[in-house]
């Protein structure tokens, strides 16, 4: 340290000497400060190092410093959020022109970050908050907001649910805090907390928000940051801020992109020739006789190369005193599985005027969208794997729509389908119309008033409404094979064909009012920020129930709904407060508290208090580190907080209410049938999950923040876990209810590193790496400690009815696999039905099952790199998961001789795994099928060229190319090692997407 001080003083001495040496004449420096887009930066400061001389730039970014002695000066231009620029200037008797073009600061500690109910400068944060802004968003075919930040943030795992258009993603922050409650984080858009409830007709409610309208994400990962959101914050909070109106003349931005999606890999099943060989080898004459002459690649039949496009236009500027931004987006996305598509229109309006000399600020936002989706019957994927590949696609006649089907003709019915046989995969797709149209509007109006007589105090009132209307239908024609043999109508005659409608209307209203106070107590070097507020949200979901109609238009008598509608409502009323104090921007203390009252719980136990406290110490502000050339930022954080989770349970379940059975579940007394009144399971004592998180973090920046990031260690304990609990029978009307039972802990490490490896005028190279380690363990599951308690089964698989492959058990990670240990022969092949007799009792039964690996990755990485060379830029985003295991359900359910030559008397195709194992019958619980699915996935490679000005001095044109899901390196033998639940069973595959994009700014 001593050495550094020495250097610093020497430098200062040299500068002072230089300025004295140059005292003889006077001159000046003038120029302009602009940003990277050549826009002026009014208010930026230009100073002469080592002196008190300086100037602020005017509205045009111009500055002028006069009366300078001749000599050589170091001039610094600074602006909030930009990298300061230094230039050495030699001034003689005349005026020298020096222009600055400032680059945005990727690591700016002064960056303003959205936190709950307010904003803060990044350097003042005491909680674990990650932010991702527009410049770091993922590019390519991005349909849903969360895909913008996939792989970008330590501790945030985003896995797309499938490759279907708009399928949405599983978002897990620090692994998720719940077993059976929801693990979805709370998402807040422009201050409006969204409900996690689904919207009918939309796979993911976030699909209704256009990613192009988003300016930034703030992710509140730990409890000290999230506790201000109380009983919905246990799984973290994602704050989304949309783009706002900008000052100045109208700017028009137009972007368009064209994407092509392709299947990356077919599921490994037997080829037609392998299939023939296998059947001839093992089948009997009746089975061999079923071999046809066709060679059909059923997977080729159901998949397609998809073409999608996405267009957006936005206008932003200020008319009069009204800053505005208006945008319109159109997305037409087609899936690689035939008949799946998503078609979206969005409109976004933001108005943010100020009145009363900026004392009254109004912010109005509206996000509106219409989404039309067509859902493919994903049953076709399994069917394509099973259907006899020596059968043709078409039958050559008109029965069953012309699709070839497996028949079992009887005298009475020569067209009878073979019961339980797979149906023609292409027929399944084309003979179903499953379509929806959904609308969503999120409108918010916030008024912020800075009190005239007390400007430190702001009063903020906002109202918001999030409404959606989703409806759709599912239509099967009468000739579809899936409709055979039909359903009895009122006369007992079998009718085929069906039409089912659905509709759900959601209306969630939010009212929020808070006061905020901010003051610098200069005399005691202290700063105080305080917020106190009240918020109320009323959630309402109305589902309309419809009858189903047969193909002939008559109503299915069994489908007439008992109730025409179902209305679910709950109310959440809250008060909250936060107090932030810092001394000399070095010692920080933050405390928050929220009280929530949720009507999802019984009166008397519906109030919850969620406190948090955090402390921060900016070591780099201490004298001994100030000006250190290596360490530019070092902050320690220690945080503790309590949050809750109330998702994943119903609105009224503390009541035991009766519901009437459907007309197909009646009971006969005499000649009369009666619907049944069943009392529902209830849990009057149920309340929210409670999660206490302790977090220790270090924020660091080296070499003038060219290398920066955070390291966080956390310990999270969830109590009153909402988990399935076996109710002692006779005490309730359900034997398994979701109750507050059990405890779970998560321990983790998160590390984020961002490096500006090269920073020069022509070449810029930045790399971001994030690493997450999470260990989950269930610590209690039963009301009474029960040493031999077997745990709760999870993860139903296909193959055996009611067969589960996962287990929640004390001492292990949630949803751990629960398997027999396969025994192998000397040839290395697994022995059919031979398992390790774990307890040595000579019998293989459930006592020999053991808890195996977890489906969750033990560690995961994200890495991204961006290189800009002059007008080119090139980058990639990649992710890696380690230690995640996947149960290969395709192999376990179809890689069996009894699948190929099955008891139905037909031959079916299946996993080529059968050639490796030679298994005859189902070995569903064998750990043979549990595979290490660690992977490295190149998510995205992109290249761009910036043409710069194309229409004189106005247009700014960029062209980009993008490949998503480029390649994957894994030992996993199935199609895709990345699953949301660890079970790979005929999932809609994620396509590889090639995108060409064009962006024009005027």
């Amino acid at each position: 340290m001593r050495k550094n001080y020495f250097k610093k003083y020497v430098l200062l001495f040299v500068l002072i000497t230089m300025s004295f040496m140059a005292f003889a004449q006077t001159g000046g420096i003038t120029g302009k400060v602009v940003d990277e887009k050549n826009q002026p930066l009014p208010g930026s400061s230009v100073t002469i190092d080592g002196t008190t001389i300086g100037q602020s730039a005017d509205v045009n970014g111009a500055y002028a410093i006069t009366h300078l002695k001749a000599g050589t000066y170091i001039v610094t231009a600074k602006f909030l959020g930009y990298v300061a620029s230094k230039k050495t200037v030699t001034v003689a008797a005349s005026t020298v022109t020096v222009n600055f073009a400032l680059q945005p600061d990727n690591n700016n500690l002064n960056e303003v970050v959205v936190i709950g109910y307010g904003t803060a400068r990044k350097k003042d944060l005491t909680g674990s908050i990650a932010t991702v802004t527009e410049k770091d968003f993922n590019t390519g075919e991005v349909t849903s907001p969360e895909q913008l930040i996939q792989g970008k943030v330590a501790g945030v795992s985003i896995i797309s649910n499938s490759g279907a258009p708009g399928a949405g993603s599983q978002i897990l922050i620090r692994g998720g805090a719940s077993v059976n409650g929801s693990n979805a984080p709370l998402i807040v858009v422009d201050g409006v907390p969204l409900s996690n409830d689904g919207i009918a007709g939309v796979a993911s409610p976030l699909d209704l928000i256009n990613p192009n309208d988003i300016a930034s994400f703030s992710i509140l990962k730990d409890a000290s940051a999230a506790a201000i959101y109380g009983n919905r914050a246990s799984n973290g909070v994602i704050l989304i801020t949309t783009k706002k109106g900008q000052n100045g003349a109208p700017q028009i931005n137009f972007s368009t992109q064209l994407s092509i999606g392709k299947l990356t890999k077919e599921a490994p099943i037997l080829s037609p020739s392998q299939f023939r060989t296998y059947i001839k080898q093992y089948g009997d004459s009746a089975q061999i006789a079923q071999l046809g002459t066709a060679n059909t690649d059923w997977q080729k039949e159901i998949y397609q190369t998809s073409v999608s496009n996405d267009d957006n236009i936005s206008i932003t500027g200020t008319t009069g005193k009204l800053p505005y931004r208006v945008s319109i987006g159109y997305t037409d996305q087609n899936g690689i599985l035939k008949t799946s598509s998503l078609n979206r229109y969005t409109a976004n309006i933001n108005l943010s005027p100020s009145f009363l000399t900026n004392h009254l600020k109004v912010d109005f936002n509206f996000l509106g969208s219409q989404v039309k989706q067509s859902f493919a019957n994903t049953g076709a994927i399994g069917s394509a794997n099973s259907f006899n590949p020596t059968d043709p696609v078409y039958s050559g006649n008109s029965i069953y729509g012309g699709y070839y089907e497996i028949l079992a003709p009887t005298g009475a019915n020569p067209e009878a389908l073979k019961s339980l046989a797979p149906l023609n995969p292409l027929g399944l797709l084309n003979e179903e119309q499953n379509k929806s149209t959904s609308y969503r509007g999120i409108g918010s109006l916030a008024v912020d008033y800075k009190l005239h007589f007390f400007p430190d105090l702001h009063a903020n009132v906002s109202v918001a409404y999030d409404g959606s209307n989703g409806q759709g239908y599912n239509d099967f024609p009468a000739y579809a094979a899936s409709q055979y043999p039909g359903t009895a109508d009122v006369n007992g005659v079998l009718q085929r064909g069906s039409n089912t409608r659905y509709k759900t209307v959601v209306g969630n209203s939010t009212l929020d009012g808070h006061l905020s106070y901010s003051h610098d107590f200069k005399s005691i070097k202290s700063h105080v920020d305080a917020v106190a507020g009240y918020s109320e949200q009323l959630f309402s979901t109305t589902t309309t129930n419809y009858a189903t109609y047969f193909g002939n238009g008559e109503v299915n008598p069994n489908s007439i709904p008992t109730y025409p509608t179902g209305i679910g409502q709950y109310d959440l009323a809250s008060v909250y407060g936060r107090l932030e104090y810092n001394y000399n921007s070095t010692y920080y203390l933050t405390g928050t508290i929220r009280q929530d009252v949720s009507t999802r719980f019984a009166p008397g136990i519906r109030t919850g208090n969620f406190p948090s406290i955090a402390a921060g110490w900016v070591i780099s502000n201490e004298d001994f580190l100030k000006g250190n050339p290596v360490i530019s930022n070092l902050k320690l954080r220690l945080e503790y907080g309590v949050t809750g989770n109330q998702d994943g349970i119903g609105d009224y379940e503390y009541l035991s209410d009766y519901s009437l059975s459907t007309s197909t579940a009646q009971y006969q007394f005499g000649q009369q049938f009666y619907q049944e009144y069943r009392p529902g399971a209830f849990f009057p004592g149920r309340t929210w999950e409670q999660t206490a998180t302790t977090n220790f973090g270090i924020d660091y920046g080296f070499l003038n923040n060219r290398i920066s990031g955070s390291l966080d260690l956390y310990y999270r304990a969830t109590d009153h876990l909402l988990a399935p609990q076996n109710e002692p029978p006779l005490t309730n009307f359900g034997n398994v209810i979701t109750a507050n039972i059990g405890d779970m802990v998560d321990r983790g490490v998160e590390l984020g590193i961002t490096g500006q490896i090269i920073q020069s005028k022509d070449i810029n190279w930045s790399v971001g790496i994030n690493f997450t380690l999470n260990r989950n363990k269930i610590t209690s599951l039963t009301v009474f400690p029960t040493p031999n308690f077997p745990g709760f089964q999870q993860g139903g698989i296909s193959g055996g009815v009611g067969t589960y492959i996962q287990l929640d058990q004390v001492g292990y990670a949630k949803n751990s696999f629960y398997t027999y240990t396969q025994v192998y022969g000397t040839d290395g092949k697994p022995l059919d039905g031979v398992y390790l007799d774990k307890n040595g009792d000579g019998v293989i039964n459930s006592a020999d099952l053991s808890v195996n690996h977890s489906p969750d990755p033990q560690e995961y990485f994200g890495i991204n790199s961006d290189v800009r060379v002059k007008k080119w830029n090139l980058g990639f985003v990649a992710r890696a998961n380690l230690g995640n295991y996947v149960y290969n359900n395709i192999a376990s359910s179809t890689g069996l001789q009894t699948n190929f030559l099955n008891g139905l008397g037909i031959i079916e195709n299946g996993s080529s795994n059968v050639l490796k194992t030679g298994f005859v019958s189902g070995q569903y619980l064998s750990d043979y099928y549990l595979e290490n699915a660690s992977f490295f996935r190149m998510d995205n490679i992109h290249i761009g060229y910036n043409f710069g000005k194309v229409f004189g001095s106005t247009g700014d044109l960029k062209i980009s190319g993008n490949v998503q899901n480029v390649f994957i390196i894994t030992k996993y033998t199935g199609v895709d090692p990345e699953t949301t639940n660890g079970i790979d069973n005929n999932n809609y595959p994620r396509p590889r997407t090639y995108t060409l994009g064009l962006n024009l700014a005027l």
Binding site: V575, Q666, Y667, G680, P729
Partner: protein
């Protein structure tokens, strides 16, 4: 700021007692305000025997933790009673299923656990109904006169249905948890009751409700009458030695005789018409001339749908070359067959090519089996064609016409008169008083005459009527109706090596197993939740 905070706290306080109520569910107050509401609640008390949830055939299930389709009462009960015996083997590899025939089940067995939770759920429904159906509660809703009388009859029947379920638990699990309507549901953790105490409760309860029940054959089809009470008493007394350690064959005779001698009860002429889609005709309230069925579980292909009961017994049994059309269903599930031990109890059939449906020309028409393509030798339990097919339960009417659907109309009897004949005869042979050997022989020969199509070819002599003969006769007459495990235990042949069948104890030729398997284990999930419970010995 303080004022705002106080105001805010004040507003949240208002929400602390806000009740938002659902529009598609109603409170017990509303349900039990009308006679129809009582009837619909009673429809659940009965219907829980047939349906698995509120959305037939599947969805919104009553029992969680098991596949809903398998959670039907009779399917669970049948699996526990038949699969561990010589009467049934099955191909399914669903959790716990194979452990039953192999006799290696543990306290986590999914099938026995499903039965346990199903029985106790149905008892909870009874307790709840009874709490709502006290005369005071009924009067408080302003219900009087005939409606009040009807509800009182419902209440007596709910007590009967509860006693029946406690009998199932006593027979299978021995020492279950126990509550009656005397305790508010959810107010405490239920205590465990011993098998002996439960025996005394069941017997006492049945005797107490006997005078309250509707007179024989006077109730609606599908509802229990006084005869059902007697039939259950006879069954319970026959097994008293097993349940309590003290035999009571005299009471078994008393109550079986009450059933047998009541006017209207007897045998329908043709055994092969017993388990059919129009089998309501097998009792007087169902439209028949004679009551052979005393109480049935009623299924309906349109209105009472599910994957248990007769749907299971028809579909699971259909496979191989068994023609679904003749079974009255849309297709088989290739599941259950029977073993050579059972085939050996019958005379040789005249044909085995399936041409003489359903009994293959067997002189004993009860031999409703399917031979073509089936092997009597079971090399693999999972191969449908190993073992002999069973076509006793069919979804066609007496004319052989089926509606050819996924769901069935075939009702299943919980009590049938022939069982009472067999109880009478066995109790007499075992030394009970109040009956006589000659009458016993007469009853057995009535069964056999009907079985042999009215011919005397099957008639036996007094000397031939032994307890062993009764056991075999029960296997022939009550085959696959859910009696075999209980019968084998009563005869000491369920676990011991004295009687073997294919794959008993998991060995192809059969082997004896430990005696603790005579009782199923209390599911370990309930042991974990209820500290009052002690596991049955051996588990």
């Amino acid at each position: 700021m303080l004022a705002v905070a106080l105001l805010a706290v004040g507003i949240t306080s208002c929400k602390k007692n806000l009740i938002l109520s659902p529009n598609n569910q109603i409170s017990s107050q509303q349900v039990f305000s009308t006679p129809l509401g009582y009837t619909e609640a009673m429809a659940k008390v009965y219907g829980a025997y047939a349906t698995t949830g509120n959305t037939g055939p599947y969805g919104n299930g009553d029992i969680q933790g098991v596949d809903e389709g398998t959670s039907d009462f009779f399917r669970e009960f049948w699996n526990c009673e038949e699969l561990p015996t010589d009467e049934a083997v099955i191909t399914y590899t669903d959790p716990g299923v194979q452990d039953l025939h192999n006799m290696v089940w543990t306290a986590t067995n999914a099938i026995s656990q499903g039965l346990y939770y199903r029985c106790l759920f149905q008892i909870t429904l009874c307790n709840n109904f009874l709490q709502q159906a006290t005369p005071a509660m009924v009067a408080s809703h302003g219900i009087t006169g005939n409606d009040a009388t009807m509800i009182a009859q419902y209440a007596a029947e709910a007590r009967f249905l509860r006693a029946y379920q406690y009998w199932v638990l006593m027979d299978t699990f021995g020492n279950p948890p126990f509550e009656t309507d005397a305790t508010k549901i959810g107010s405490g953790i239920p205590p465990q009751i011993s098998r002996t105490a439960l025996f005394n409760y069941i017997v006492g309860e049945l005797k107490a409700i006997d005078p309250l029940m509707v007179k024989p054959n006077q109730n609606q089809y599908g509802r229990a009458d006084e005869t059902a009470v007697w039939a259950l008493l006879a069954r319970v007394y026959l097994n008293a030695q097993v349940y309590t350690g003290t035999a009571d064959y005299t009471d078994a005779i008393t109550y079986s005789k009450k059933v047998i001698t009541t006017t209207g009860y007897g045998l329908i002429p043709d055994f092969t018409q017993l388990m059919l889609a129009d089998d309501s005709l097998n009792c007087i309230p169902g439209g028949g001339k004679t009551s052979e069925f005393i109480l049935t579980i009623n299924y309906d292909a349109n209105k009472t749908q599910g994957y248990g009961g007769s749907q299971y017994l028809t579909h699971a049994a259909t496979g191989g070359s068994i023609p679904p059309l003749l079974m009255g269903i849309d297709g088989g599930y290739d599941g259950s067959r029977t073993t050579s031990n059972i085939i050996a109890l019958f005379p040789a059939p005249a044909t085995t090519d399936g041409s003489q449906w359903p009994s293959n020309g067997n002189p004993d028409t009860r031999a409703e089996f399917w031979y073509p393509g089936q092997s009597p030798v079971i090399n693999n339990l999972l191969t449908f064609t190993d073992g002999i097919g069973v076509v006793k339960f069919r979804n066609v009417n007496r004319e052989g016409v089926g509606s050819n659907t996924t769901f069935t109309n075939t009702d299943l009897p919980l009590f049938r008169v022939p069982e009472q004949y067999l109880i009478y005869a066995e109790a007499v042979l075992r030394g009970g008083s109040g009956g006589d050997a000659g009458t016993a022989l007469g009853y057995i020969n009535q069964l056999r005459t009907r079985a042999y199509g009215g011919s005397n070819a099957g008639i036996i002599t007094q000397a031939q009527l032994t307890t062993d003969f009764i056991l075999d006769e029960r296997a022939r007459e009550l085959f696959w109706e859910g009696f075999r495990r209980t019968d084998l235990i009563r005869y000491g042949r369920f676990t011991s090596a004295s009687y073997l069948w294919p794959w008993k104890g998991g060995v192809k030729s059969g082997t004896g197993v430990a005696d603790y398997l005579n009782l199923y284990p209390i599911p370990s999930s309930d042991i974990a939740d209820n500290p009052n419970l002690k596991q049955n010995p051996g588990y």
